[in-house]
Symmetry: none
Subunit: 215 residues, 4 copies
């Protein structure tokens, strides 16, 4: 236990204001769209001074990012032993979230904003995209350990191809973003790599989906 039994001490930040700001940001985004939301409006709706926002966040985008973080439930990490099926299921869930009008457009706007805000891009990658990517990566690594994927394939690149397909449809809207597309992506991208579709019988896995013996 790193801290003493008393409160953290090191911050008199108001939790109620923080929550009010995130709520206001999210509701305004949903009402008027990210681009038409101003920090002034967020502050006004949250019943908060503008300075309180500027004190804790560097930009409107950063506020919305944090608000979106609270919304996005972590995709459950299915692990049935069949890497193709698992990835299909996971990608379908990601797509379901991104296709949601209450979420996808705002994420798109943040990516748009990140084009001229390197700090936001870093934040977005670190706090949003990489964690989700990491879940997928983990499943792919497991598959590789189990011999379902050849050791030669670059899993980072592989993950980018998979997610790239999704973000393309999110950002450009050039075609439907649905479960069928998820299946297509996995079938197309993974099929060429997967050498053996299913986990070998001899392995046993722990509850967490990670091979018990390897840890």
């Amino acid at each position: 236990m790193p801290t003493s039994t008393t409160r953290p001490l090191a911050s008199r930040r108001s939790e109620s204001s923080r929550v009010a700001i995130l709520d206001a940001a999210l509701s305004l985004c949903r009402e008027k769209g990210y681009a038409k939301v101003s920090i002034e409006a967020i502050a006004a709706r949250a019943g908060v001074g503008k300075q309180t926002i500027y004190r804790w966040w560097p930009s409107k985008a950063s506020v919305v990012l944090e608000a979106l973080e609270g919304v996005a439930a972590r995709v459950p990490t299915a692990d049935t032993g069949d890497v193709m099926a698992d990835m299909r299921a996971r990608l379908a869930q990601v797509i379901e979230l991104y296709a949601d009008e209450r979420f996808g457009p705002h994420l798109g706007a943040l990516i748009g904003e990140a084009q001229h805000d390197p700090a936001l891009r870093a934040d977005l990658l670190e706090r949003y995209l990489r964690p989700r990517r990491a879940d997928a990566l983990q499943r792919l690594q497991l598959a590789r350990e189990e011999g379902q994927l050849p050791g030669t394939v670059n899993l980072d690149d592989l993950a980018d191809v998979i997610f790239g397909a999704v973000y393309h449809r999110l950002l450009l809207r050039n075609g439907p973003l649905d479960k069928a597309y998820a299946h297509f992506v996995i079938d197309t991208v993974l099929a060429s790599c997967v050498t053996r579709p299913r986990r070998p019988r001899t392995r046993t896995t722990s509850r967490t989906g990670r091979p018990a013996a390897t840890r």
Copy 2:
């Protein structure tokens, strides 16, 4: 035909102003980045009244889009008979353009702006992304006609997976955008589809295709 078909030929529009505006827009983008360029600044640098911009373009993004059009040369559409090799080459060229500091970031910014500007999104798709995609699609269709790709595969989805991989790296910067990535993408995505790597000897190509020999 000196002017494009989108502007009426009988217009009394000043060509010198149009060029000055596009030049100013591009140079300002390169100096300060798309986001920090304002219509006021473009007008000032171009020595033009603001109204002259508003008269002919709906938004800053539209001006920049037109300016970028002048920059982007059309990728030569290689056709060697080997669909994998051809696609690798084409994608490598697209990537080369997008990795160019004088082009990629501005395209990224336009895609960002398109997130809250449906008209821009349509324009961007129509004038920019789809033409490039169409080149690729055409080559894939040719390959299908030649039996190198099964008739069941959805080529639209396939193209989106391929381009999605590229835009992902352009927009998120999560990994290098280079020729190696182009190769990886094609190898991974196409490999699972391609049934026969090379054009059959017995085939002759239609006149719509671009057989290497006809040029």
Copy 3:
């Protein structure tokens, strides 16, 4: 005739906005007092953008100064031949204006503001105080020319003593600012200087109150 027959050319300034701003400034001053008036409030009441105020005036004080200028009627320049009586009458009129709740406090506030705004002080002196002082000075000079005041007295200093007495009561409110005070000031300050109370019989004056022969 310095300019051509067409309009001044050299200003597209909106007269209606100018008037609206001055009106708004004055009415707000009267409602809430100078100190509680903000440029934002003036702009809002005038139905004008803030920039329009900042474009033409350097500060709130400058706006109010111009507004007050429109209010202050020039004191009629009595000239009866009796310098003491004339000055008493003039000073009484100045005092009447300054004792007016709709005027005096705002002038006081401007003098207050001028304490940390040299440009305003210069403006205030040039456009407000000196013109009024000049009227008094002129009458005193006339009296001197007519031999009612000795040539040795410094009329500038004399005027400052007279006006100083008034501004003291305006700014410090240490005693009533009324006609009796005006009389007292003139009686006390001028009495010691005036050698002969009335204009000599032999002189004739023009309608303007200036001795005809001296010009």
Copy 4:
């Protein structure tokens, strides 16, 4: 008696904070001018919490007023028997203080602030202006008692005329504020009143300068 009578002796108020605040206020005034000094800046420079200032003073002006009190030495009250000479000397000393760049401008600023702060005006009059005026008034009263001034003259008004002349030059800067002006003011204003320049031989005065018999 270490503390003033205005603060309760039993107070646990920190004297060191009080001094630090007054020092900070004064030095900031001299560096940036009264108007650009904020309570925040005073607190920061004094190494003091803002609340400590708000607890003991009602406004920035009040702090500065107290700080200035420490600077202004009381003018010695000359009494030579010659009321004109005495007043000249006293006024010259007042003027010397007000002409001091380290004092006059701040006093001017306080008078300016007092235009919209009645409490400050009262405080300023009570603690600053009236004490000085009282010194002069006392000397004039003595002169009247000694028959040098007629009983009919309103000494309050007379004092305001004299001081008004000084404040006019302090606040409006319309002419030099120097010893010559002091002499001119007294010569002009008092000359008309004084019936006999010097104290009659038959009177005796106590060493305090006040007529022994009247107390």
